[in-house]
């Protein structure tokens, strides 16, 4: 229970960083309104079976949530660079409690992003059953686990000066290939590759919103595999990263 205060202050610190909190929520909402606005009346976007406002809502909610999870890495990189992580390591705070606080903080920001996009989506006419919203959100929370691990991995690998490109590039690449920004169409290597990316399954969460199937067994395996591999890498990076930065 000792780590409770630590977690509470971590959450508080993140919210107090207003510029970060506001911008990380406002940006995806703004882009969503710009993209979905002109397509409000498209009821079946590129034969996905989803309306444009719903598809883009989930896409940009995924983007905001991925960004929130990886921003956790940027905060870790900053704390490392000022020597705070070393200070924590010589305290009784266990690595488990440290990661729990980091992951909870990331999820808090991700959920705020999701909620903001849901509100924006509703304003564009997205209307789902209560269970639809809940199931969709539940799937996204699970789908974000690999991104939590990726954020921690980046945070312990990079400095604040070098974390920008892997973070921005990672989100752009995973977003483009996973269908976050627009539906994937056609056949071939890239649409096939998408099925093996965690970002693809985030967007697929939108199907349950309209009563469709959520994830296939393949989706569960892909997300579990990414979680396992990235968690192991993150744990390794944390163990190795005890030196002065």
């Amino acid at each position: 229970m000792r780590s409770f205060v630590y977690t509470r202050y971590e959450l508080l610190r993140t919210l107090r960083n207003r510029r970060f909190a506001v911008l990380s929520v406002a940006f995806p909402v703004l882009v969503y309104l710009l993209v979905a606005g002109p397509n409000r009346n498209v009821h079946d976007l590129d034969s996905t079976g989803l309306s444009a406002p719903l598809y883009f809502m989930i896409g940009w909610a995924s983007f905001g949530a991925m960004n929130a999870m990886l921003s956790c890495g940027a905060r870790i990189a900053t704390e490392r660079s000022v020597g705070w992580t070393r200070q924590l390591r010589i305290s009784p705070l266990s690595p488990r409690a440290y990661f729990r606080a980091k992951v909870l903080t990331a999820y808090m920001m991700a959920l705020i992003s999701l909620l903001a996009l849901y509100v924006a989506g509703a304003s564009m006419g997205v209307s789902l059953r209560a269970s639809g919203w809940l199931e969709m959100t539940g799937l996204m929370i699970v789908g974000l686990i690999p991104f939590a691990a990726l954020g921690i991995l980046f945070g312990h690998m990079f400095t604040p000066e070098s974390i920008g490109p892997p973070m921005g590039g990672g989100i752009a690449l995973l977003g483009l290939l996973g269908g976050t920004f627009f539906p994937l169409s056609g056949h071939g290597f890239l649409p096939e590759l998408a099925h093996y990316l965690p970002s693809y399954w985030l967007v697929q969460a939108s199907h349950v919103g309209v009563g469709g199937q959520g994830w296939s067994a393949k989706g569960c395996v892909v997300v579990a595999a990414w979680t396992l591999v990235l968690s192991l890498l993150a744990a390794r990076a944390y163990r190795k990263d005890t030196g002065r930065v």
Partner: protein, 309 residues
């Protein structure tokens, strides 16, 4: 006593902290840099020990190994009979590391309170804010503090954990004079509670004034280890510099209290074991000596002499 065990009762103080045969090298541009080359230190409970040495002596590397932040290439560390990680997990160790800023977006009081919450038996937060002289800035956000204030908050963070072993790496480097006095007064009080303290410094005066014992390090090795009075006698040489043209330096070297002399243009520089005796003898023999300066030899200078032998 076997390695790693803690002897309690029966003759002599227990060895609470033990560094045994520590070796650590880093990769450098021209091959490995041997930062610490085989050191042994034992510290008893309640001792205040200064780890004294010039920059680059290996003090911080030693402290990092003591705290388990760095794995030694060879040798072992035992803190209260346990590996450092275990002692730390139990909250027995507090430290103020050499480099380190604070995390932002918390008030000073919140930050100190957050750290206190992690330890099993912390000191009262308000008391620590008072002791470290930061009660007046307790409501300020950590990112708004000056360098000296930051250093005091870092000290409060180390102190509030109320550890059995307090480790401080060059704690006063960024402090002003007033801050230093307040700092050492607090440290004395903390030591009086029977706590074990290890601090690294390159100021001989600090080691002399506040430690029971000093361990001298140079080039990654221990060159001396003993009560601070002995250490001071070893490295506490002074120099007398005076303008004195046309005298024989070999004769000056034979004056009482003088251990060596050299000429630098019109001036002579006398290295002294006893500068009081030396200055009297110098003025008696050469009343025309001018521009006289007496200075304590810098620690760096003393170390060069100690390690040259």
């Amino acid at each position: 006593m076997s390695a790693g065990s803690v002897a309690r009762g029966g003759g002599g103080p227990a060895t609470e902290i033990q560094l045994q045969g520590l070796v650590k090298s880093f990769r450098g541009p021209d091959g490995p840099i041997r930062a610490v080359r085989g050191i042994d230190v034992r510290i008893a409970a309640g001792e205040t020990v200064a780890l004294l040495g010039p920059n680059g002596a290996g003090k911080s590397t030693t402290i990092d190994m003591l705290l388990g932040l760095l794995a030694p290439d060879e040798g072992s560390v035992s803190v209260f009979g346990r590996p450092p990680s275990q002692a730390i997990a139990q909250g027995a160790v507090g430290a103020m590391l050499q480099t380190g800023a604070l995390i932002r977006d918390l008030s000073v009081r919140e930050l100190v309170g957050m750290i206190a919450s992690l330890y099993p038996a912390p000191l009262d937060v308000e008391e620590v804010l008072e002791l470290t002289g930061i009660a007046a800035i307790a409501a300020q956000r950590t990112q708004k503090l000056s360098g000296g204030q930051t250093q005091r908050v870092r000290f409060a963070v180390a102190l509030v954990s109320n550890p059995e072993l307090l480790v401080l790496d060059e704690p006063t480097v960024a402090m002003d004079v007033e801050g230093r006095h307040a700092f050492w007064a607090t440290m004395r009080e903390f030591a009086a509670r029977g706590k074990t303290i290890l601090f690294a410094t390159h100021y001989l005066e600090e080691a002399d004034a506040y430690a029971d014992r000093a361990v001298l390090m140079a080039h990654g090795a221990i060159v001396a280890d003993g009560p601070t009075t002995e250490i001071r006698a070893m490295v506490g040489t002074r120099t007398i510099r005076a303008t004195l043209p046309g005298t024989d330096v070999d004769a000056l070297a034979l004056l009482p209290g003088v251990s060596g002399a050299e000429r630098r243009g019109e001036a002579v520089v006398l290295r002294c074991e006893d500068s009081d005796a030396a200055i009297r003898a110098l003025l008696a023999a050469h009343p025309d000596a001018r521009d006289i300066e007496i200075a304590a030899a810098g620690l760096e200078q003393a170390f060069l002499e100690l390690t040259a032998e």
